[in-house]
Symmetry: C2
């Protein structure tokens, strides 16, 4: 059944107030789709649908809902009901939700939870944003090395329903230190009396609570993990992060890189959820900075005023020089930023990268300036001297742009700045200034 | 133990030719790390280490190795050994590997596999690049709806060792049509006599063999899946794609967007694996195109030559106008491209987006042109007329740049082009031309 038909059916059942049938229909739909459908409901219908949901689905649906709608719901249901929801949600989803609420609402809601849960949630709320600690959940399967497969399966049968994943078994010693992991599929294909310790994967792969989410995502992707254990400073196991959350992290980190590369302050919310002032505020700082740095390029033009008066083709070439330089620089910096993000390029590769980019610049620049030289002579009937000055300046611009474009992101990473920050707008300014300077220096020497 | 120590130990054992100990050491290391270590070995040591590897690990290590090294290995080991490797690998990894080999090598290697495997591999090699079919594997657990949990666990015990995942059970009917999926964790917490059909997840989520990998990644991410079933045109189940492969797809798609946004032809290989000519060739088409379109901006400057002669501040403002316009346009287009990629913005949102961007442009532009006006009057001691002309041109440029920047990606998507292709370099050219045109039109009217 396609989505439009599902939507239509739900709309009809809502309108006809056939709540029994509606409940039945909802049982047939993925919780993600239920949350999607709820997006278009008003406050009243939202509450109605939420109350109709099968009891065991409501916490899951709630964790997939938009923050706006959660707010709407929270305003209409009582604190007790919220507390029940929080108890039913996985801890990481509950913490995500609580982080959205105003501080006094969090306090009020947590009053009703039991002291142990409250203590854990409070601890989780204090992990730095985007740290492994802030992403993790505590619903994982912990086992001791003496247990065998049968014990493990029995434990899963008894407690597995409340776990976010049972597909990796974590072995901890008496000090709660992580000793190793057993993928469940290994346990399912051996005799039941096999001790878990015999099935442990080689090498313990874990992250620290304070590690950045980027490190977590890179590790999960590198080792093809379904979930990764999180340990504290003493190596004690404190939680896990599952791969579905990692996919969101990967997209988040990529969005951040896209934004930084375009001189945007990272947005916290999707486009349509961000206020106009915030949208403008996120863009203004870089725009102002780059507007003022471009005055340097202007000053270079002003200084060489006399050159421009010689031939109009010189002024007319300024956009071509600036744009080509900007594009060349951006191409090189994008390749570096991606290479760094994917772990393919490191700072120590700088000489190799620079040498590569210079040669690419020499090749690309040759074609571009030959074409420009030809155009100037054949179409614009320019003099040999002017055509040569413009073509040579373009050549130098391309090579310099490629060099600046590859060096800046690597340097930024070296001094622990985000490479994406060093990207296109800043590079454009630098490349503009140097290409204009070269252009006018050559022009004033050979034409005036 | 940290990576450097591991590396050192392996180096020492290799040098001392202690092959027994080396084999033992390798058993303690994750296959991903073994493949990583092998990167630095020469052909001889590579072959040696590969031969020493525990038998059951070699196929997995092989599937994590670089394409260069696989080639080196394939050259030194016999066809029979390669065939054995292929039989041990999961089908999707085997197909990936075979796609790298020259066609006659594939034929030679496949000669030794059994006819059934050969037929399947040949079929897989014919799926279009980046389609679900080309990503999927056939090692999944298929069950019939009559089976109960006990039957399922027994089947897993017998055949699970060869499956890429056993964590989702796929129920198919007699026509091999996919009826639904059962997450293994649900089966592990209920009595063994429970029929599988009672545990089926609501809604069947699957992709078609011909669906693009982007669709696959979006679906897996949306529904938080560990694996997704792939069906053919008739709804028959033919394979699965696991979430670890999806993570690589997400990064690949993001890299492609980054490249397109910077006017680069998508690269097939990592930076250092790409030849110099290919690196240059990937960049040249857009650079040439944009170099020639920037002649339009040059023509506008040439046409208004007389205006530039009035005051040098006018020429000196050209870089600021061009750069600010380019930056504003790129900010807007980046937000659109990400919004489209993440499913947050659609073509039908165009009026809403345009209205938002115009207002953001009005706000941002006001601050920028006020600052510029102030600078011209106070620092450059420019006349009121000239300062006003430049400030107003900047204002108009910002608003137009924001509009073009948001409209182009949405239009591109509408006509089924990649939104990222419509991005920054093309937008820069358009914005440049329009901002210069506005600037000179206003200037010639009010200053001359």
């Amino acid at each position: 059944m396609d989505w439009e038909k599902i939507e239509e059916t739900l709309d009809r059942l809502m309108a006809q107030k056939r709540h029994g049938q509606l409940r039945g229909a909802l049982m047939m739909i993925n919780p993600v789709d239920i949350a999607e459908y709820m997006k278009k409901l008003d406050a009243e219908n939202l509450l109605l649908l939420f109350r109709i949901l099968p009891k065991d689905a409501s916490a899951e649906v709630f964790s997939y809902m938009d923050s706006d709608q959660r707010e709407t719901l929270v305003e209409s249901i009582g604190d007790k009901e919220i507390t029940a929801l929080i108890n039913d949600m996985f801890l990481d989803d509950a913490v995500d939700f609580l982080e959205e609420l105003p501080a006094n609402a969090v306090k009020r809601v947590l009053q009703h939870t039991d002291p142990k849960t409250r203590a854990i949630i409070n601890q989780f709320l204090h992990y730095p944003e985007n740290s492994a600690g802030s992403l993790m959940t505590i619903e994982y399967c912990e086992f001791t090395p003496e247990m065998n497969v049968q014990d493990a399966l029995q434990t899963i049968k008894e407690t597995g329903v409340d776990k976010e994943t049972v597909y990796t078994l974590y072995l901890v010693d008496k000090q709660r230190k992580l000793m190793g992991t057993v993928p469940l599929h290994k346990a399912l294909v051996v005799p039941e009396e096999t001790p878990l310790i015999k099935l442990v994967d080689p090498g313990v792969i874990a992250v620290n609570t304070l590690d950045d989410q980027e490190v977590v995502a890179d590790t999960v992707r590198k080792y093809h993990l379904l979930s990764i254990p999180v340990v504290d400073g003493e190596g004690r196991m404190v939680g896990i992060i599952t791969s579905d959350d990692i996919m969101d992290v990967i997209e988040e980190e990529n969005t951040e890189d896209f934004e930084k590369m375009s001189g945007l302050a990272p947005a916290e919310e999707p486009y349509f959820k961000t206020s106009l002032f915030k949208l403008a505020g996120n863009r203004l700082p870089w725009l102002m900075l780059l507007m003022f740095t471009s005055i340097i390029s202007g000053a270079i033009i002003a200084r060489f005023e006399s050159v421009l008066a010689v031939n109009i083709l010189l002024s007319a070439s300024i956009p071509m020089l600036m744009d080509s330089g900007g594009n060349c620089g951006q191409q090189a910096s994008t390749l570096m930023i991606r290479g760094i993000a994917l772990g393919e390029v490191r700072f120590r590769d700088l000489p190799k990268v620079l040498w590569t980019e210079v040669r690419v610049g020499l090749m690309v620049g040759l074609v571009m300036s030959a074409a420009t030289f030809g155009r100037l002579i054949l179409i614009n009937h320019a003099s040999l001297a002017i055509s040569a000055v413009i073509a040579v300046s373009l050549y130098a611009t391309v090579v310099i742009a490629k060099s600046i474009g590859c060096v800046l992101p690597l340097l930024a990473q070296r001094i622990k700045l985000d490479p994406a920050l060093a990207a296109s707008p800043l590079i454009t300014t630098l490349v503009d200034a140097s290409s204009l300077f070269i252009f006018f220096t050559i022009a004033s020497k050979y034409i005036l």
